[in-house]
Symmetry: C2
Amino acid sequence: MNLPNSADAALRRRALRVVPGGMWGHQHAARLPSAYPQFFARAQGARIWDVDGNAYIDLMCSWGPIILGHHAPEVEEAVRLQSERGDCMNGPSEAMVELAELLVDTIPHADWAQFQKNGTDATTAAVTIARAATGRRKILVANGAYHGAAPWCLPSLAGGMAEDRAHIVQYEYNDVASLHAAADWADGDLAGIVASAFRHDLARDQEMPTAEFARAARALCDATGAALILDDVRAGFRLHLGGSWEPYGVRPDLSAWSKAIANGYPLAAVTGCDRFRDGAASVFSTGSFWTAAVPMAAAVATLHVLRRGEAIPLMERLGTRLRQELANLAEQNGLRIRQTGPVQMPMLLFEDDPQFQRAEVFCNAALAHGAYLHPRHNMFLSAAHTDDDIDIVLDAAGHGFAAAARVAPPAE
Amino acid sequence: MNLPNSADAALRRRALRVVPGGMWGHQHAARLPSAYPQFFARAQGARIWDVDGNAYIDLMCSWGPIILGHHAPEVEEAVRLQSERGDCMNGPSEAMVELAELLVDTIPHADWAQFQKNGTDATTAAVTIARAATGRRKILVANGAYHGAAPWCLPSLAGGMAEDRAHIVQYEYNDVASLHAAADWADGDLAGIVASAFRHDLARDQEMPTAEFARAARALCDATGAALILDDVRAGFRLHLGGSWEPYGVRPDLSAWSKAIANGYPLAAVTGCDRFRDGAASVFSTGSFWTAAVPMAAAVATLHVLRRGEAIPLMERLGTRLRQELANLAEQNGLRIRQTGPVQMPMLLFEDDPQFQRAEVFCNAALAHGAYLHPRHNMFLSAAHTDDDIDIVLDAAGHGFAAAARVAPPAE
């Protein structure tokens, strides 16, 4: 069963002439299974439509931003009201203050907030603030972690230089000994430790942080005066509104947020504790659209909805059901799969699938039956998903597993 | 005459608790004359309203982005139509292809385009593409030029490190000998030369590029294979739709765009020639909101309006009138001023005003009479400004000059 794709193919041909490689970045269809569309026409709730009119239940949520579903009414109403007044002006609107107050009220470690556009802006600002506040240079970063697309953290080396990472020291996530070794290596020059909310590296099992690891990072920062920086860009607001390490009783000094903060409107934020307030004020950081009022009004509305407390339990319930039934379906098809990390950010990998061939066959077949999944990146649920949507995903996944079961195992 | 400011003052007090320093970046009111508001409530056409209800004819245009006026009907209609369909989705919409085609059709040097959010994203991407394509490292940058707020180009050193600028070599804008000396110093490792559309450094006279300088930069890049990178973020689409160096007959290899490209909606772009297409495709560069459809639809609509050809001549006519009448008013008040650079991006500095005291008194008084000007940064006209608006600005400036004339000259 092949989905119609002539409009998508025509747009790809046009794009190839006027965009290098036809597309760039994490949404490039060349990085996706062969049947996946590149171009989208419409989105509503948990559904997306490609330019050929094919509809899918979306388990990527625009790679994270859509947490309440597309066109969430409360968010759209706030956007409409703010848009009528003004968006990009000579300075911020009242919405900036409301949003900062709301973040400080919601996030236990936060005494203040600063705003940007990209998640990369927020992680980079946090690192810069840590350096400015401590007067030191070394930043500890987990091997394989993604913290954005700036020179200090780019996953690709094209166009980069050795100097970009001169003071980046690697450790292994959840490996306390490696964290201590990296801190020892930084000896007296440790500005900060960056940790993702959990280990969500591409193409490998997700790992929740161990309490031992989180506490060791906190203790190292307490002992040295370095900043504990939580990269909550990807996971933020899906696990715990107060920050993803709240359940572990470990509070960072600085957190980077973006993606889900405004339900798809472009915004990022750094929150921090009072110890880093002066450092944050000393750094010159700015952008033409950073104080725009509409994304901030959208974030205020998004946070108000999230604070009602229904969204995360709903995503957890649906994610738990999805995980259990996917496991059953895989077993019925004689397939061994691994599902890891938080249920509301599903990750599904096949055993014995080093080239992701099974995963791609699985995804292509599921796509043809109406579910947009990812073969090697974590996925995302939203508060707009329903049990009916999960039914569609499971039906599609059943077709996916049946197809994947027909893939020959890799040669020994 | 003091404007009401109690709402602004109240918001500043609230902000001081939850935002480091109460605000950050180029829009921080601490960087502005004492009477200036920090917070804005509304904007329409060429007018802005602060949170106390004071209205101003705006000569900052949100520091550049607003080129057709706030709520330009064609742009808002395109935004409404695209918003109803979808904005932040799993990939781009058709608007991305339309916009890339439109840029390639409008900008003679452009064979392709890539999109980002911040102007800094675009300048950084251009530098990275130049390095990736040439396999070299050195980037020539004019002393004092602003190219964004990334570590390689930050105007402040707080939180930065020597390594951030390891391969940045400075030259003096419009000084061909210094450009050659910098290129010699880069000897065999020259990846690119970055030049602003014209010299628009903070707090100094603007300077148009000399044809000799522009040609020398082009010739150096031709001789060495380096990329000539035009930073058109600030000036783009206000001087010449094909790029600000078109009138000089000098075409860059790569251009960085942002600010006015989508009339205030958040978008940036790099355009480039075919020689750098593969380099651009090789760099991993991405952001969560970079393919969002609404800003691209806004950019398509903005460019369609600009391509009618009325906007730039209108801004030139109004800017010429403003410059001439400001010169007359200053003279009538016995003041010596300097007005430099393109008329549609006005820059007004006072002679014998090293601490900008006269300029601040001038701006405060003009503000009280309904004109929002800047004492030491270039300003911006838009296609929404009218002769009536310029009348108001000139009346306000008359009050400003009268006040400035009463400022004692600096002590010898």
